[in-house]
Amino acid sequence: MAETTMDSTAAGLTTADGRPLKVALAAAQSRAKRRAFLLVLPLLLFIVITFALPIGQMLQRSLYHDGFSKASPALGAWFAANPAGTEPDEAAYAALASDLLLMKENRLAGEAGTRINYSMPGTRSLITSAARGADDLQPPYREALLAQDRKWGEPLLWVAMREAASPWTTDFYLSGIDMQRSADGGIERVAEVNRVYIWLYVRTFLLSAVITGICLLLAFPIAHMLATLPMAKANLLMILVLLPFWTSLLVRTTSWIVLLQGQGVINSLLVSMGVIDDSGRLALIYNQTGTIIVMVHILLPFMVLPLYSVMRVIPPSYARAARSLGATSWTTFRRIYLPQTLPGIGAGVLLVFILAVGYYITPALVGGADGQLFSNQIQFHMTKSNWSQAAALAAMLLAGVLLLYWLYDRLIGIDKLKLG
């Protein structure tokens, strides 16, 4: 009720030059807003260009591959005219032959073959060699092509070509969840020996959780000690935390190799002390154990720093008050101290976990066979120039992290986060 009265009076007011006050105010404010926007514009552009665009491009790439579709207009038309499951007839083979000729003239066979090869291994050379001889193909094309190679008649190949004839495809996500298209056009799981992604995906998140947990257990007492010591001593100790943080990642990883390997410092020490004998040296590296040890060390500062910054400002008087009111030290810790450190714990856990999920170089160097993470598969496809597959796997990883972030926001609240 009060608002309406105010509104009606404001509408009646005018400025000195006779304009309604409301309009003049809006004009003045929009100028200020524009100026404010111009101030943030550089940052906005920077974020769009260096962050939003590349991620958008990556997501697009994971669904888009025009290697085959741009080389196969005739086949594309045949697939459009005939529903999935149609037996390829002479017209289909004629379309194929004309596309092969196009591939030869424009040298598109390599890319086209690569695209089909992703869906059906062993077909790249089939397409490149057929394109090379495309000039000599004579009707009837079906017989001519089948005489060249029996593979041209395989239903699976036609399923793969139908899917690839459109640049937009879900093939890369399918293979990212260990699935493939079957000869009848449906979807099936890949052979057991080839299943790698789902298992590795789950394991990456589990390993990251373990690493985050160990980091928290180790960092909490350190951060507490740093926060309660006098400033001079705390600063000295802080340098010890930060020094490795400033050292190159590769240097730290390789120094761990020196320490942990079979003939390394730790094993040799244990042998010389008689704890283990020479033939029973511990396998501390080139396996999952190595990945965990080295990644915990590398990510520890990301846990210590947010914890420290939160603990620093917790007044010690609260804990003293609790103790003087009769709480045991455990109750004081559990009911008074721990809840106040939660913003730091949340920030540290989130930081370490997200960094761990995407880690690549450390598992590559010390992970051996079973210490590999999902990102090593992304790297594998990058080196094979299969960017679409790499993008699909990266998008899956991103989706997993976003899901956890959303859960975190629902359960704890992102506004409680305190990074420093």
Binding site: N106, R107, L108, A109, G110, E111, G113, N117, Y118, P121, G122, T123, R124, S125, T128, V193, N194, R195, V196, W199, L200, R203, Q261, G262, Q263, G264, Y286, A364, L365, G368, A369, D370, Q372, N376, Q377, F380, H381, K384, S385, N386, Q389
Partner: protein
């Protein structure tokens, strides 16, 4: 408009003679680029007066593709791995080179019969051959009782100790089959079949618990030096450098070696295509191509070149026994098949990765 025309003509006139005198080569840097500068580029400039600029790259295939895509090519000759050369050639980014234009061997053999099979492809002429071999630490075995065959690498009873294995199915699967008794000539025919792939993985299973897997070429000599493994798959040049340059007690098992080659290609739109072709013809002639082997233990790809291979640079030891192409090392050797791997690398790579993480 007229002004622009005059200006561009003047600039063109200025640039042309300069280009005719220069060839820009993009190579890999390091000891490898150095061997090419000493053996090919310097003598070429002396002979023809054409200056050669050598520039380095981590992998020339990547900048070359970017340059051709952008229509702004500054490189005349690119040193490429065979896999990249085949791919770029298929995509139409390299100039085709006619093998018949290449110089005949010093003994008069026609070029195409003189080059080892497969080393002259549509767009690339091989410059050198390198191999993946088994390197071992001689101090870990009794005198004269070290491993001698590829089967010994998989025999952990007779030769106990950890093995360094490449974290990649290429070469690894071939070696497993050869160790299982498949003759080199039949390896790819066997590997084409699902049973053959199973057989290779079954052989790898026998050393999996003793295996240390490596990614980068620098790792295997380090693993050997650290005593982490007693035998390892490795690139022959790396083991040679550790043994001769750093006096490590390493030796090579040539039996079951898998060799590949790298070489010269001309990007489409190269500013001095004619000069580039001249340089390639010169560098791949029998005598000249043998010269690079004095500086690095990679072999010349021509049969007639073997006779011209000299001593290791700065010593009086002959280089020939250290080359993958030496007759005594080719006894049981396999040429890596490009055709096989372009078709199967994703599929077998996934299976290999699945095998790695399974128990």
């Amino acid at each position: 408009m007229k002004k622009l025309l005059v200006l561009s003509t003047a600039l063109g006139g200025f640039a042309l003679p300069a280009l005719a005198q220069e060839v820009t080569v993009m190579g890999w840097g390091g000891a490898y680029a150095n061997s090419q500068i000493e053996a090919y580029f310097k003598p070429f400039t002396e002979k023809t007066g054409i200056k050669v600029n050598s520039i380095d790259s981590d992998n020339p295939a990547i900048p070359v593709k970017a340059q051709v895509d952008a229509g702004n090519v500054t490189v005349d000759v690119a040193v490429l791995e065979i896999a990249d050369a085949v791919r770029l050639c298929d995509e139409g980014q390299l100039v085709q080179i006619d093998g018949a234009d290449l110089p005949d061997g010093a003994d008069g053999t026609k070029a195409m019969d003189d080059f080892l099979p497969g080393t002259v492809t549509e767009c690339m002429v091989a410059a050198d051959i390198f191999a993946t071999i088994i390197g071992y630490d001689t101090t870990k075995f009794p005198e004269g009782a070290g491993p001698t065959t590829i089967a010994d690498f998989f025999d952990t009873e007779k030769f106990p100790g950890k093995r360094g294995v490449r974290k990649n199915p290429k070469v690894t699967l071939e070696m497993a089959l050869m160790a299982d008794g498949v003759p080199a000539a039949e390896v790819y025919a066997v590997l084409e079949t699902p049973e053959g792939v199973d057989r290779a993985f079954a052989k790898l299973d026998t050393i999996k618990k003793d295996a240390v897997f490596w990614d980068a070429g620098a790792q295997p000599p380090q693993l050997l030096a650290d005593g982490e493994v007693v035998m390892t798959m490795a690139y022959n040049g790396r083991i040679f450098n550790a043994a001769h340059g750093e006096n490590k007690p390493f030796d090579i098992v040539w039996d079951g070696q898998v060799y590949e080659w790298e070489g010269f290609a001309i990007p489409k739109g190269a500013p001095n295509e004619a000069g580039a072709l001249e340089l390639i013809k010169y560098a791949t002639s029998s005598e000249v191509s043998a010269k690079a082997a004095s500086y690095i233990s990679y072999g010349p790809p021509r049969k007639s070149a073997a006779a011209f291979v000299g001593n290791i640079d700065g010593t009086d030891k002959p280089m020939l026994p250290n080359l993958p192409t030496a007759p005594q090392n080719l006894g049981n050797a396999l040429a890596s098949s490009q055709d096989f791997w372009v078709d199967r690398d994703t599929e077998l790579g996934e299976r290999y990765n699945a095998w790695l993480v399974s128990n």
